[in-house]
Amino acid sequence: MRPDPLRSKAVLSDLAGADAPLGRRRVLGLGAALAGSLAFGSKPATAGPAQASPPADAPWSQSIGAGVVDRPYGRPADTEASVIRRNVPWLTASAESSVSFSPLQDLHGIITPNGLFFERHHAGRPDIDPAQHKLMIHGLVERPLLLTMKDILRFPQITRIHFIECPANGGMNWRAAQMNSLQFSHGMVSCAEWTGVRLSTLLEEVGVKKEAKWAMVEGADGAHMNRSLPLDKCLDDCLVVYAQNGEALRPEQGYPLRLVVPGWEGNVNIKWLRRIKLGDKPWHSREETSKYTDLMPDGTSRGFTWLIDAKSVITFPCPEKPLDGPGLYEIRGLAWTGSGKIRRVDVSMDGGVNWQTARLHEPVLSKALTKFTLPWRWDGRPALVASRVIDETGYVQPTIAELRKQRGSNSIYHNNSIQTWQVKSDGSVFNVQLA
């Protein structure tokens, strides 16, 4: 028994608060619902949602739903169709070398669903046949190896939860508040449960020569995207993964194989990983000289700024989720740091004059998103809402003014400053910066 499409539309128009509740579509819909009920021999519905007063049934409570495998993979409710990755068309020259943003305003936990994990491609998304994909490990090793996906799946498995953030996340806010949106100001961070094999396991398998100090990691995409990584980090906590949140990686996330470099900037987490070469020096590729370096006010540039410093953002309220009027709310947000675990998050309602410590929600994991909340009784007056994280090293998230004093505003990357949302008396929310 399939749900009647006409009835589904009527339900949608009710939920959307249609202006004319007894319009033609709705009458048709109720008729279809009645016909459906009659076909099953049950009593016809007598009360639609428009007359609903307790006790009452909605149409979906008085009919039979769809069967199993009606949607063999599954998909979000039709009314969640707006919860998608989005891009900024004017930001990049082409969609193939571009970025999409996670809808943080509509997510509720520390795990980003796979279809909503932000994307950054340098030469588009390749669709790779895993039967033909291989990983080569060579250079300063005892036994250079060519591994198939079947080979990689045989190695001892490890599962970890880590965030990945593009260092350009928030880059548009370096000069001034620009994007009036949580999705576009902070959506280049996502977090997943990754499953694969420790990079150290693979490196032990090939035998690292003692002169080796660096690894070059390279993707199989059209950019042949590559970065240099110090061997110490590779042996510490890097993962070569094939699964994300329990299922195979999505093509957008590097299917069939990617690198996860916990706590370090997104672009070193090479997707569609095909080659690891060990050497004694870094490679200084285009992506680590002309891109992903930080131009300082004195004209010098910082290369190899891999670490993601502590950062937090309030996800409710935000520009996409205004307040409904005075009353009790729960401030909600996310915090993360490449330096380990979150120690504390403070929240201010008055633009940083006074702060209160928020509650951290378990699990508080190393190099993962951490959720925080704080109850707030809003009196309806304008407010400036902000969060400030302190990580386990004692590092305190800076204001944008403090960060600009050090780095000017041309560095594009690594803007981890405090985000302030302006709440107006009508409950609307705007992205602002404070002097």
Partner: protein, 223 residues
């Protein structure tokens, strides 16, 4: 009686056991995958090191030849003389701009190493057909782009010996260690700033830069 085949199997078993006892530090302890042959490695090994050009292959290319290849393969996106097209990157200009309010990082103003240019063209360009140019054509393109930036004379011939010797303008302005943390704020809790001093320095309200976040994808045009 043991056949020679059985003896072989016993020897293999002993060797495998020895490998297992040796622990994971010994290469090949799992034994998965195949040892990559020199020919296989040669086929995959495309990387070039920026600082000294290690990995540059044989071949060479002139500025003149590079102009022809550039007109055919690159000009549509990067402009006839590297001035950029639409939002595709400029390849020239910006010299002396790195301390400005609007710096222009290009090959001429920003890139520290010439072999990196060869490596990037070879691995990623042209964008619609990456890694399809011959080594000679990549050398020629590298020579042409360096000459557009007045980094080499018109008679320059790019090869594995000449490229690492090109002196790039921004060569000595990179710091390869991370000096962070570069802010050391203390977590004040009460009366941290004077409430009267709290004012907005900027707002995104009314800026009209933000795509919508409901409904279908926004195809808003370039600003």
């Amino acid at each position: 009686m043991f056949s020679s085949r059985k003896i072989c199997l016993v020897i293999v078993a002993i060797l495998l056991a020895a490998g297992g006892l040796a622990g994971a530090a010994e290469p090949g302890s799992f034994g998965y995958g195949r040892v990559a042959s020199p020919a296989q490695i040669a086929g995959w090994d495309i990387d070039v090191r920026g600082e000294d050009g290690a990995g540059l292959p044989p071949g060479k290319g002139t500025v003149d030849r590079g102009a022809d290849v550039y007109a055919e393969q690159c000009a549509a996106c990067h402009g006839t003389f590297g001035e950029g097209e639409g939002r595709f990157p400029k390849l020239v200009g910006g010299v002396g701009s790195l301390r400005d309010e609007r710096p222009e990082p290009t090959v001429g103003s920003y890139w520290p190493f010439a072999p990196t240019l060869w490596d990037y063209i070879n691995r990623a360009m042209p964008m619609s057909a990456p890694h399809t140019l011959s080594a000679d054509d990549v050398y020629a393109l590298t020579a042409y782009i360096l000459s557009l930036n007045d980094l080499v004379p018109n008679e320059f011939v790019a090869d594995r010996n000449s490229l690492p010797k090109v002196k790039m303008r921004n060569r000595d302005n990179f710091i390869w260690t991370d000096p962070r943390p570069d802010t050391m704020a203390k977590p004040c809790m009460n009366n941290c700033v004077n409430a009267a001093d709290v004012r907005l320095s900027s707002t995104a309200e009314g800026r009209d830069l933000t795509p919508r976040t409901t409904g279908p994808l926004d195809t808003m045009q370039s600003k």
